[in-house]
Amino acid sequence: MALLEVNNLDVRFALRQGEVHALRDISFSLERGERLGIVGESGAGKSVAAFSLLNLISKPGFIAGGTVNFDGQVLNHMSERGLRKVRGNRISMIFQDPMMTLNPVLSIGEQMVECLKAHRRISSKEARAIALDKLQQVQIPSPETRLDQYPHELSGGMRQRIIIAIALLLDPDIIIADEPTTALDVTIQAEIMALLLDLCEQHNVGLILITHDLGVVSQVTQRMLVMYAGRVIEQGPTREIINDPQHPYTQGLINALPQMATPGEKLNQIRGSMPSLSNLPSGCAFHPRCDFINRADGQPRPACTQQVPEFVESGNCRVACHMVAEMLEDRRLKEETS
C-alpha cells in the first residue's frame, strides 16, 4: 500500500447562498519519496485539496466524504490531538508567502526550537543544534547569526529557505508545498526549486507540489494531477501528460503557453474562463469552453452537456473526458473487428 492514499475525497463549503462543492471525487496516491504535482488555475481547488489532506479546512468548509489514508491511519477521521502528531511532524507544509508563515515577533531560532520541542522531548540546546544543522542543509550563509535574526531582516528568497528548513526540521515523510516559489523572482525561484528537489531526493521525502506553473511541474515532479473546477480531469506520469496531453483542457493549457507558439504569431487561447464553483455548467464542467464537443460527424455529443465524465484509462494516464472515452471505444471496436 502506498504511503498516502486519497480516495474519493469530497469537500464542501456550507455558505449562506447554498452549499458549494469545492472538491469532487479526488483520488490519488503517493509512494515514499515520490514527487507529485497538482496543477490548475486559480479557483480549480488545488489549495483546498492540499489543505484537506491534513484536515486543515476551516469552517464553513468540511470534508463531506472520502478518506485520506496515511501510513495506516485515516487522517480525516482522526481527533485534533492525533492530527497534531502528524502535522508538521510526518507531513509538513510550505506555503506561498514566506512572510505570512513566519512569526514576526519571534526570532528564527525561537520558531525552530518551538517546533522541535512541541514534537520531541529534547532540551533547548539539542533543539538549537538540530535547527542549525537544518539551516546549513538549506545553504543559508552564516546560519548561526540567522538563528537570532527576525524574519523582517531577511530577503524573500532567504525566508523561503528558512521555511524549507523548518519543514524539514522533524524529518517528515511528505512535504506539501503550496506555490512555494510564486512570490519569488525567476533566478531565486530556480535556486529554491533546485534546493527543494535536492533535499527531497537526499532524505527520500515525498513532495506534493501545488502550482499553476506547468514549467516547474514538468521539471520537478514524476506524476501530476490536472484540476479544473474542483475535479481532477487528468492524472498520470508528468512526462506523458506534458508530451501528449489527452484532455482538451490540458491541451489548451499547454498550447496557451507563449513558449509553445512561434514568436509574433497568435497564441492558442482557450476561450472564456473557469466557471464559478457555485454555478457549474451541466455535464462536463469544461464543455462551454471545449472545442471537441462535436463528434467526428459534426453532431454535438449529448453526453458532454448532460453527463459528468467518468475516468477512462488511456495508457498510463486517467482522463475524465467523453471525447477521449469515445476515441478509445472506437479504437477497441476496430481492433475487435479486425
Binding site: V186, M193, A256
Partner: protein, 357 residues
Amino acid sequence: MSAHAEAMTENPMPTPRQNEESADSLLQIRDLKKRFSLSGDFLDQLRFKGGKLVRHQEYVHAINGVNLDIKRGEALCVVGESGCGKSTVARTVMGLLTPSEGEIRYDGQRIDNLSSRQLLPYRKRMQMIFQNPYASLNPRMTIQQTLEEPLRLHHPDWKRPKILEKVEEVMHSVGIDPDWGKRFGHEFSGGQRQRIAIARALAVDPEFIVADEPISALDVSIQAQVLNLLMEAQQERNLTYLFITHDLAVVEHFGTRVAVMYLGTVCEIATTATLFEKPRHPYTQALLSAIPRLKDDRPQHIRLSGEVPTPVNLPSGCVFHGRCPHANSRCKQEIPLLQTQDDGTRVACHAVEEGRL
C-alpha cells in the same frame, strides 16, 4: 486638436533632436535617474553625530542612468526581477513620477518638465495599462462611465452621441459585450477587467501604450487571451508598446526588442531573436537559463549565488559584480557602459568588452 497645437507653441524650448540615428524614435530616455528619499521630512533627517547636528539623507536609487530609444511601431520589452526599476521607468515615462535627473523626449519634444496642463495633449497620445485590474478600475463607476471618462476629458467638444458611438466601437474592438456598460468592475473576472482596462486605454486612440505587467495577475489560459488582444491592437492601430514584464517567455513571444534591467541600470539591449539566441551579459544568460521549460533540452541552468543587493547602498563598479561568475577587480571598481556589438546588441559588461566571455 487645437489644445495640442497650443501646447506645442507654449513649450519654451523646442529642443532639436540629438542625433540622426534616433530620428525614427518615438520616445527617447536620456540618462534617466530616479531617487526616492527614505529619510522623511527635514526634521526627521536631523541626527546627532559626534556632538554636532547633521543632516542625514538616505535614498533608494531606483534608476541610475537609463538610456532607451523606443522606435515607432515596435514593442520594447523591459525585463528584470523585482526591484530592478522597470516599473519606475514606466511610471516616469508616463509622467506619474518626476525624474530626479535626465530627460524624456516624446516625438522630439521634452516632456519630463511639463506641467500637467501642458502634458495633457501627450497623455492623449500615450496611455497606460496597469498590472492589477482589481485596483485600476474605479469601483464606483460603471464600465460605461469608466470608458467615457477619458473621451470627455480629451475631447471636450464631442457631443454625447459621438462619445457613445466611440465607446461602443472600442468595446467591440476588445471583445466586450456592450451590455456590460451598466455593470460595475467588481462583477467581472480578472481577465474581463483587464480587457476593460485595455479598452479604456484604447478609447482615445493613442499611438503609444505603456503596459506594466499587464498579464502577470492573470491565469495561464487568460494570459493568452489578453496577450492576443494586445497583439491584435498593435497590428490594427500600429501601436508602439513599452511592455514591462518579468516573464521571459512572454517577451520572446511579444517583443521586438528587449532591454534587460538589473538594479536600476540596463545591462543589455538587443532584438528579441538575438537576445534569446545569443545572450551576452552574464545576468541575461542566468535569467534565460532560469526559465522553467516544458520540454527541457538545454544544459543545466546557471545558478547565481547570493541575492540582489539593495538599491539603497549600491555596490561600487558593476552593480552585478557580487553575483557574477566572471567578475574581476575591474568590475568591482569601474561602472561598465553600454557598448554596441557588431550585431547591434548593446551590452554593459567589462568581460564582454575584454573578450573574456
